[in-house]
């Protein structure tokens, strides 16, 4: 059976503690992507440091989903490079994907299967055997408060529960970088707050790096790293105060409008 390609540069040791701080959880350099003549991403560069929360802010159509598709290798990288903990997604996809957890924007659970069956399937896709998978599934279900629902069909869960389950599933193989593509869309206010709190705890308590795509300004906190994506280009990046200072605006909403030159009416939750 074919072994996965080794990345050409030095591998960081997988133990979090021993890792040199300079290896980014996610490093995107000079990435461009077009569909035929339509340019979806134009020379994007930014990085997500390990154990930090980075918000990718952009309106619908800014290129967020294209970027996610590139990071998860659904599309090939046309220009530039994407590295996850130093592993190039094109050259060492296996090593890159095994430390990556993803929650896609569309729901990707099997509605007719039970909560546990969904988790076991995902674990199998990562080569995690049945016994180990059950132990881990119990752990992640306890974390999201769904332990008593493990035999329920996913169809019977609420929207918020499904989203929490998707996050739990993405964590089963213990990734060190978690991508979430507008995970709060379609959730009510409480479910949104719960999910956001859960994701932030993953960052602070488990040291997981998070890239959180959103078009909702109120999901961004003071200490977050922020990348503003608009029409396929990065308009600004840095901490919120930095971006406010850069654009000379009082709040993020105004800053966004000034940066993009649009009425950001799509930003209302």
């Amino acid at each position: 059976m074919k072994q996965m390609d080794m990345p050409t540069d030095d591998l960081p040791t997988p133990e979090r503690r021993n890792e040199p701080a300079e290896v980014a959880a996610l490093s995107i350099k000079g990435v461009s992507h077009s569909y035929g003549s339509r340019v979806a991403l134009d020379d994007i560069s930014f990085a997500v440091a390990p154990g930090t929360f980075t918000a990718l802010l952009g309106l619908n159509g800014a290129g967020k989903s294209t970027l996610f598709s590139l990071i998860t290798r659904l599309f090939g990288v046309q220009r530039g490079s994407i590295r996850i903990f130093g592993h190039d997604i094109g050259r060492a996809p296996g090593e890159a994907l095994r430390v990556l957890g993803v929650v896609f924007q569309p729901r990707t659970l099997d509605l007719d299967l039970s909560v546990m069956q969904n988790l076991l399937y995902h674990a199998a896709l990562h080569g995690i055997g049945r016994r180990e998978a059950r132990v881990r599934a119990d752990e992640v279900l306890a974390q999201i408060g769904l332990s008593d629902r493990n035999a329920s069909k996913v169809r019977d869960l609420s929207g918020g529960q499904m989203r929490r389950l998707e996050i739990a599933r993405a964590l089963l193989h213990r990734p060190r970088l978690l991508l979430l593509d507008e995970p709060t869309v379609g959730l009510d206010v409480k479910a949104r707050a719960d999910m956001l709190g859960h994701v932030r705890r993953l960052v602070s308590e488990q040291g997981i790096g998070v890239l959180f795509a959103t078009h909702l300004f109120d999901e961004i906190a003071e200490g977050d790293d922020l990348v503003v994506l608009h029409q396929g280009r990065v308009l600004a990046q840095g901490r919120l105060p930095h971006i406010l200072a850069q654009s000379g605006a009082r709040d993020l909403h105004a800053a966004f409008m000034r940066l993009t030159g649009t009425a950001a009416d799509a930003s209302a939750p």
């Binding site: 569909y35 979806a40 998860t72 095994r98 990707t108 990562h126």
Partner: protein, 281 residues
Amino acid sequence: MTTDAIKPRPGFSLTQYAVCMNGIVWREGLRFLHQRERFISALVRPLVWLFIFAAGFRQVLGISIIPPYETYILYEVYITPGLMAMIQLFNGMQSSLSMVYDREMGNMRTLLVSPLPRWYLLFCKLLAGTAVSVLQVYAFLLVAWFWDIEPPHIGYLTVLPALLLSGLMLGALGMLISSGIRQLENFAGVMNFVIFPMFFASSALYPLWRVQEGSPVLAYLCQLNPFTHAVELIRFALYGRVNWVSLAVVGGCAVVFMIAAAVAYDPSRGIGRHGPAGGET
């Protein structure tokens, strides 16, 4: 606290490959159990052909003794292998349909972000679909048995490898087609341009020597049709014999279709060209 099952060293062990295959086949089986309508329609379709079409045509078409048959046979007996292959053809196309349908890449995404090599994931998926089609075929054979379609007992066993191979070929073809279909509506096109021509321009419903009498060109086309060879491979295997030409054609086509499907799902070539599904960017 549990220890990590995935060791941090690069690459994956054979056990992990096996776990992955097991998981994919298991999920396909569960989904199949949950979709009873799919199972019933997969069973009813060939039975309609057997009970109605074959009964009607029995008087019209006389079948002479041709290999692998050693006596005169009823028309029902003749078309049974064709209907078995038809089950697999529909199943292959239906898995391709479900691949398109899975929320326009929804469930496919879960599969494709697995760190195991993509060709291997697709192969497991293919194997899972084939396993389901084989179950459907045996269910059909069981009902057909009550209709006096009684191949030799050993045939039920010897037909298994033939079914696996033809299932892989037709499933790989479906997968290849699915990589090119972006919208569900296009499945009607698949019916018209793939399923019907493949089924009718084959030896499933009439022996090729009969076709030859009517239209030599059509007979030639039938011989080029890989589905004809799937039918003949199954027909011979059901009577404990091997049709070597068909075996070579089906095996060769299976490999070619599988490689083509793997290439089509390669991110740098196939999927990336079409842009994201559902019009999102």
